[in-house]
């Protein structure tokens, strides 16, 4: 098994499973579908994971591999580039998707269509991480997008149809702008692959350089739209809050991070792209604060989680932008990028677990309104849960997002905050950390005991074995990450660093001072939470608008983003 075949397995094995499930759906009767879905899960998700284990030594020695799909002559074929960053992105994706695939409730509608579309999405995420060709990136992003629209709309609620329509119009229009950007770059350089475009970038002058920079702006903003940075984040709240629970978990966990990191290679294509870093860092800090303020205003459980996703992706974007500003090839740039990726992993696992637990709990209580939802534990027990696993998993995920031990988020967030010091975004992120704890304390109310007797919803046992497995896997990832954090961080830095890990002194562990900082954060948060219900807080918060974004707001944000980025690049 050569490296050549191994690194493409995350792309074609899920496709094979999707085709297999489609054939099984039309040829075999309904009751055998569960068995086929199990087989497909093993082949499509576990075999690529095994391939990743086999590829570990190759990636640790920092080699990378550039191939052309189908072994054609290089100028016209599609180039694929496998290196440490692709490896880590695929690993992140598999780590989150496998438990989500296991999350199954009895009587879930459209479950076979969900499985087929899920596998196609897995394949497209892997292809996006690996591609080194502009038009192939367009096609992979379109596949990712269309699977998202269909998955969001599959929950059959009317709000989800509207959210899917908004996301579809916004994203499809942005992809047409992406095509115009491809037009600009192809016309100047004559090729679609990254390395061919990068090889001519230094010889561009005058109007050619201007067109190349504007084309890059169109491409970058259309890709960043999927990562939902302010001002491009209008679509995310509707989409993530009205989708079915495993779909929300997948979207918030994986799909907002992969396009961001796949953009790294694109930024090397045009001269002066490091200037994008400074404006992006500021946008990251702004996303963090704006997101959490809106989250504090919300009373709907899933909308609160969606706004919190907007806020947390701000952290990742800040570290990522600072890495771009320093230059990815330098030591400090590689360190920042590794920490951004690690924090993305912490957030992905924790947020996916939160969506699944809060979803299960609110389904049991039949309400998502935080003012009314209480006593989820009793309701879940009536549905067949013996130990309060949902509550424990929720609590572990809450600890991770609030950056408290013994979870991986504790080290992830403190490392990120300490290494981004010196930029104004850092202060914004610190304030956001306090407010995040407040918002999640508000969410904990679901599990407080209820005053009146819960009228148990007439649902048979729907907490099955595979659902519990999903929770166990996520809990394990969060807690094991705490104990093995140092090894994990060194492994990631070694894979991403151009010079080898011995050169980088990562002394981010001052456990006692970090712990006191966390304690201070928690105390301030509890004080703010107590003040939250006073009239002063209500008056302050009423300045934050409560309605969602309208359709024209989405495009206004898009226009602003393009203008700001274009101005930054050409000055």
């Amino acid at each position: 098994m050569s490296i050549d075949t191994l690194f493409l397995t995350p792309v074609y094995l899920p496709l094979f499973c999707a085709a297999f499930l489609m054939a099984a759906k039309v040829f075999f009767p309904e009751r055998t579908m569960l068995f086929f879905q199990g087989v497909a899960g093993v082949v499509g998700l576990l075999l690529p994971l095994a391939a990743l284990f086999l590829l570990n030594p190759f990636v640790m020695s920092q080699q990378n591999m550039e191939t052309v799909i189908g072994a054609w002559e290089t100028s016209i074929g599609i180039h694929y580039h496998f290196d440490g960053l692709s490896y880590l992105l695929i690993a992140l994706h598999l780590a989150v998707s496998i438990p989500i695939y296991l999350y199954r409730k009895k009587g879930q509608r459209h479950s076979d269509t969900f499985a087929i579309v899920f596998f196609i999405q897995c394949s497209s995420v892997a292809a996006t991480s690996l591609t080194a060709d502009l038009f192939n990136l367009f096609v992979c992003l379109e596949v990712m997008g269309i699977t998202s629209y269909v998955l969001i709309a599959s929950s059959d609620k009317e709000q989800s149809i509207l959210a899917s329509y908004n996301y579809l119009m916004f994203s499809a229009t942005a992809m047409v702008f992406f095509l115009i950007g491809v037009f600009g770059l192809y016309r100047i350089t004559g090729s679609l692959s990254y390395e061919a475009i990068a090889s001519v970038k230094n010889s561009l002058v005058g109007s050619e350089l201007l067109v190349a920079q504007f084309s890059l702006v169109l491409i970058v903003i259309s890709t960043l739209l999927r990562s939902a940075i302010v001002p491009l984040s209008g679509w995310l709240v509707g989409a993530h809050s009205t989708a079915p629970h495993p779909v929300s978990a997948l979207l918030s966990g994986v799909l907002i991070k992969v396009p961001l990191f796949a953009l790294v290679r694109l930024l090397l294509l045009v001269v002066g792209s490091y200037r994008i870093g400074s404006v992006l860092a500021f946008a990251g800090g702004l996303s963090a604060i704006v997101g959490i303020l809106f989250a504090l205003r919300e009373n709907h459980a899933k909308r609160l989680l969606a706004y919190s996703s907007v806020s947390q992706i701000g952290y990742v974007v800040t570290a990522y932008a600072l890495a771009v500003k320093e230059g990815i090839g330098t030591e400090r740039g590689a360190l920042l990028l590794s920490l951004a990726l690690l924090y993305a992993f912490c957030h992905a696992v924790a947020k996916a677990l939160l969506f699944l637990t809060v979803g299960t709990a609110t389904d049991a209580l039949n309400t998502k309104d935080l003012a009314l939802a209480r006593g989820a534990n009793q309701a879940l027990k009536a549905q067949g849960e013996k130990i309060p696993l949902t509550c424990i998993s929720f609590f572990i995920a809450f600890l991770s997002l609030a950056a408290l031990p013994p979870t991986i988020g504790y080290f992830g967030k403190s490392a990120l905050l300490s290494v981004t010091k010196g930029h104004i975004a850092n202060q914004m992120l610190t304030i956001t950390s306090v407010l995040t704890v407040v918002a999640y304390l508000k969410l904990c109310a679901i599990f407080f005991p209820s005053k009146e007797k819960i009228k148990t919803v007439a649902q048979e046992k729907s907490i099955g074995f595979s659902l519990r497995c999903a929770f166990y896997i996520f809990d394990f990832l969060l807690i094991a990450g705490f104990f093995f954090y140092k090894h994990l961080q060194n492994w990631v830095i070694q894979i991403l660093s151009p010079l080898g890990s011995s050169q980088i002194q990562v002394s981010l562990f001052a456990p006692y001072s970090d712990f006191t900082k966390s304690l201070v954060t928690i105390i301030i948060a509890i004080v703010v939470y107590r003040l939250y219900h006073t009239a002063l807080a209500h008056k302050l918060l009423s300045f934050v608008p409560n309605k969602g974004r309208t359709f024209s707001d989405l495009f206004f944000g898009y226009g602003l983003a393009i203008a700001i980025m274009a101005f930054q690049l050409i000055r």
Binding site: L8, M22, I69, D156, Y186, S191, T550, F555
Partner: protein, 243 residues
């Protein structure tokens, strides 16, 4: 309040058009490198004289696979969204075209003229669709184009006088589609086992037969596209007795 909305829209349009305008309107000559390479080598590499087919089924076949996936997911999604619309009202049934035999006589829109003409046109268009599919490598055409023509011929047959044709039965069509998709994925993986890499042409060494891979891909894609679009059209026309 209304003016804020309009102002936002105008600002958005202006800012975007400024950037896009520069890219579109600027003057630059088109590069000739790709065209020269293909002029010299396309026939030896892939066996096809239609260079456009050589590109999208040979050099850049991965994009075609992605495009087929988009089509598959879009049609699956559209059917899932539309099928849940529930029972149709009397007014809606009156405009359905594709009806079971017992309801056809009462439908005002199905005239005898429509039925006779479309049932005579159907087989001819089907033949033309297969011609476009199979000759895609030497004249303009190919899998997608031929597939869409096949889909339209199936719609003609559904509008015609024939009531027991298997070709308009959505169960049969979905089976053909599933087999075609499985065959496409297997054809793309086959390159892995024949040492030409993912999506490589497995019969490449023998240049006499290397066009056959493109013909095979054209047939598979044509069947897949044709049957899935036909299923969607028949479902939208009201013929979804069995979903």
């Amino acid at each position: 309040m209304k003016y804020i909305n309009t102002a936002k829209q105008i600002i958005a349009i202006l800012l975007v058009c400024l950037v896009v305008g520069v890219v579109i309107i600027s003057e630059h000559s088109w590069p000739e490198g790709a065209r020269d390479y293909l002029f010299a080598h396309a026939f030896e590499d892939t066996g096809a004289t239609n260079t456009v087919s050589a590109i999208y089924l040979g050099y850049r076949a991965m994009d075609t696979l992605g495009e087929t996936l988009v089509l598959l997911v879009a049609i699956t999604g559209t059917m899932a969204i539309l099928v849940n619309l529930g029972k149709d009202t009397i007014e809606e049934e009156a405009v359905h075209f594709c009806l079971p035999p017992e309801k056809r006589a009462k439908n005002a829109l199905r005239t005898h003229l429509l039925e006779v003409v479309s049932s005579k046109l159907g087989p001819i268009v089907l033949l033309f669709g297969f011609y476009v599919m199979l000759y895609g490598h030497i004249s303009p055409g190919g899998g997608f184009q031929g597939g869409v023509i096949v889909a339209s011929s199936i719609v003609f047959l559904a509008l015609g006088t024939e009531t027991k044709s298997k070709l308009t039965n959505t169960v049969v069509l979905s089976r053909i589609e599933a087999i075609a998709f499985l065959a496409l994925v297997l054809a793309s993986i086959s390159g892995v086992f024949f040492e030409t890499g993912f999506f490589g042409n497995p019969i490449k060494p023998e240049t006499d037969l290397s066009a056959n891979f493109i013909i095979l891909l054209n047939i598979i894609i044509g069947l897949k596209v044709g049957t899935s679009i036909a299923t969607m059209c028949i479902a939208m026309m009201g013929g979804r007795h069995d979903l």
